[in-house]
Subunit: 199 residues, 2 copies
């Protein structure tokens, strides 16, 4: 797309992020999103037919951003790769960890059964995370960093499930009641047989 | 409360359950709930001031129902108690496992940060599950059924987090992509050191 089109798209993605943090998903309007940008609601409608179209584009944007964070160098230590992926999903420096945004994402998740477009994007993201984790775990098993009896695909599904549960509990009951990162790291160490110690 | 009051309350709880399955949470109206009962919307408003009041009563009702299922006999085998609690949270024979209801519960969960009443009830439920799991695990550690190095509270938080993640993924990406019960059972066995085999 031409440069000015790309700039518009980038600005609208940032505006959507801000508007979701401020208003949540359920009550979000196109006007709320335009208000977070330097553009008019008419300009927003020129690019996106509906709020749903815009949100699908926003999920695509999140997926592309996540892909960068989920792809640590393939030659890095497998244990570091697993932890880098968990960092990408859980750590406070991630944009997705602003509590208001985390809540908006859970609202969108709860809409997945009602919308094929949402569901397809969530499935793609879910599959991507499992694949990146399974690759790192398989490399660790092959190289002796992890226990030889670990099934990479199963371990990846369990790890991702624990992360998803931690994210949901942060929204449902707050950070204090959700499992700490330490506890999740120990779970990784226990389930993969990785050494404890500094990473 | 008098018998006819209790009958009304029971009927409205059943109607709320059915209406959530049919309409989801976001668009639910008092009329939808009245339509699932033999009573009028006026009768519903006589008992509950608002949709929020009714939903808070419904969450209390779910909590009371869950309490029965979460309390297996204290003299039962600790491993059987842990699995009974997971059954209560995950198994298809539970009312909460109708996919539409599961989705409505996730919608309500995503509202917790916006509503102290919802959040308080979700916290109570979360705490109850952790306590019941930790008690069963502690008994199993004391009696030698589980590994002696297991921390019951930490293991309970991790188990509950995995269950919560499995529930969220069922909504987000569907049953097929969510971890199977077998995989979760193996996770229990691995993390607690329980024997594999028939339960």
């Amino acid at each position: 797309m031409p440069l000015d089109e790309r700039e518009s798209a980038d600005e609208f993605m940032t505006a959507t992020y801000r508007a979701l943090c401020t208003h949540g998903y359920a009550d979000l309007t196109m006007q709320d999103i335009a208000d977070e940008s330097s553009r008019s609601k008419a300009a927003l409608h020129y690019h996106y037919d509906s709020k749903r179209d815009l949100l699908l584009a926003f999920l695509d944007h999140l997926l592309a951003t996540a892909d960068e964070r989920l792809a640590p160098p393939a030659d890095a230590d497998p244990r570091a790769r697993v932890h880098a992926i968990l960092d990408a999903l859980l750590e406070p420096d991630s944009e997705t960890e602003v509590p208001a945004f985390r809540t908006a994402l859970l609202e969108i998740t709860a809409q997945a059964p009602f919308d094929d477009g949402f569901r397809e994007r969530l499935r793609t993201f879910d599959r991507r995370v499992t694949d990146r984790l399974a690759e790192a775990i398989a490399d660790g098993v092959a190289g002796g960093a992890f226990r030889s009896d670990v099934d990479p695909e199963e371990a990846a599904v369990l790890l991702q499930t624990a992360v998803r549960g931690a994210q949901t509990r942060r929204v449902a009951v707050g950070d204090a009641a959700a499992p700490s990162r330490d506890l999740l790291d120990r779970f990784v160490a226990d389930s993969l047989g990785a050494d404890e110690g500094p990473r």
